[in-house]
Structures are given as C-alpha cells and as structure tokens.
Symmetry: C2
Subunit: 130 residues, 2 copies
Amino acid sequence: MSWDLKSDRPIYAQLIEQLELKICSGVYALGSKLPSVRDLAEEAAVNPNTMQRALVRLEEDGLLYTQRTSGRFITEDANMVIQIKDKIAREQIREFLEKMINLGFSRKDILSNITKILEEMRENEYDSRV
Amino acid sequence: MSWDLKSDRPIYAQLIEQLELKICSGVYALGSKLPSVRDLAEEAAVNPNTMQRALVRLEEDGLLYTQRTSGRFITEDANMVIQIKDKIAREQIREFLEKMINLGFSRKDILSNITKILEEMRENEYDSRV
DNA sequence: ATTATTGTATTAAGTGCTTAATACAATAAT
DNA sequence: ATTATTGTATTAAGCACTTAATACAATAAT
C-alpha cells in the first residue's frame, strides 16, 4: 500500500488515516522507527509541514512518540493499536451502513451486494487477502 | 433525513451527495418540483451560491432539469435514478471493502462485524428500515 | 400592468489548507 | 570538534471554498 491522496479532502486528514492504516496493518511494526518527517513527506509527495501536522496528531492520539532528535517511533503498546484498529473499523462500518440504509437498501440487500462485490474483487484485480 | 454537513470536506460536495440520496431514496419524488435555491439554502443553513453550485452539478448529471423561472424539477426518468442509486451503492461498497481489507480484516471478519453492527443498529437508536 | 419569485451572475472579504523557503536547537554520527 | 540529521517553528504566498451583498432577466402570480 502506497500513498493515495485525493483532492477533495484535506491532505493532512488523509495522511492521518493512511498512517493509521499502515500502523494497524503492520506496514510499520510496533516499536519501529518511522522515516523522518522530510523523508515521509517526500515519499508522499507532500510538503513537510503537512506531514508534520499529521504526525503530531497521531502522537496526540498515542500511536507514536518522539525522541527529540533521533526520530519518531511507533508505540510498543499492542493494545493501543488494536483499539485504534477496532475504532476505525467500527466507524467505517457505521458510516457505510447509514449511507446504504439511507439509499433504501434493506439488510438483505446490503449483505448480498457486499458478497457480490467481494466475489468480483476476489476474481479480479484486487489482492488475495480477502 | 435532514441536512448533515461536516467541516472536513467541501460543503458543496456534501450537498451533492445528500441531494442524490434524497432523490434516490424518494424524499423528492420523480418529476416533482424542488424547493427554490434560496429555500434549499436556508433549509441547509448554507449560502445560496453554495447550494446553486451543487444543483448545477446534479443537473449536469441529468438528475434534475431547470425551467427557467418556474423552478427545478427531478427527472422523470426512473432508470436514471436507478442507475445513480446503483452507482452510489457500488462506490460505497468498494471504498468500504478496500479500507477494511487494508486494515487487515478477512472476508469473514468483515461480514460478521457488519451483521454485529447491524444488530446493534436494529436494537438501538436507528430506524426500522433495516 | 404590477409584483413576487425563479434561476443566475458578480464582487469582495474571510477562512483554512498547502506549499516554499527558511531557520533554530538538540543530538547522533563522524 | 565538526557535521549531518532530527523535530520544530515562522513567514509569505497562492489557492479553493464559503459567505454576504447585490443585481439582473424571465415569467408566474396578482
């Protein structure tokens, strides 16, 4: 998973989400050192200030910690990561379900459409994690 | 369903989505007259210019049409609405699934978590459409 | 005929996001 | 000791979005 930034939402907000994803999914391991702000910014093709803004936020949430001049590190607290992962998942599911229900889909419709698209994703381009 | 606008995304984009929802879900019936730009803007607590911007977009997509000084109307083309509804649903499902898969959830995990939250929504505050 | 309502357009101001260009202090690396 | 790298801060500029305040033309309502 690389950096996927769209123009219809603030970049810093998208960076926060994608950094959370990278941490929760293990792209950055517990306790490991993050690339520097400047490197991350270059990697994501973003201004260092913008990346910094996202990192500060993750730090406030307890997912990262800073050692003054040696860099930033992922928390060693596995529970913290699990909780964030769970929080993100619940938010995603709720938002999604509310939209689908507002569109007029029934419980059955929702589930059947999901399995249908899951099949498509399994068959086609997507990856094998499903 | 009322107007629910958050500050982390352009308002006009959210208006487009929610107008699409209102049309697809039947809040505004096929062929019926929309409230005026000014009234819609007041209803959504938004500047008329911003509402106008959203309406113009829906018109470009064929969901609305304008009669110069008597107002705007929902299309009478039922297929158009069905297509839009289907398009929105597919987008929502894909986006959702990609996020969940990136988070590391398996197909089984996703489905079981959805049914779990659907149960919660059915029991608790949400409505009876599920 | 007059009035009110429709969509539409314009201009100016304010705000937040983003970038670019710097700079500084602390410390790891040499 | 010197140098490079770290996070951090500041300032100025540009941009899109939003609002407010108007205004205009067309036509429905009176």
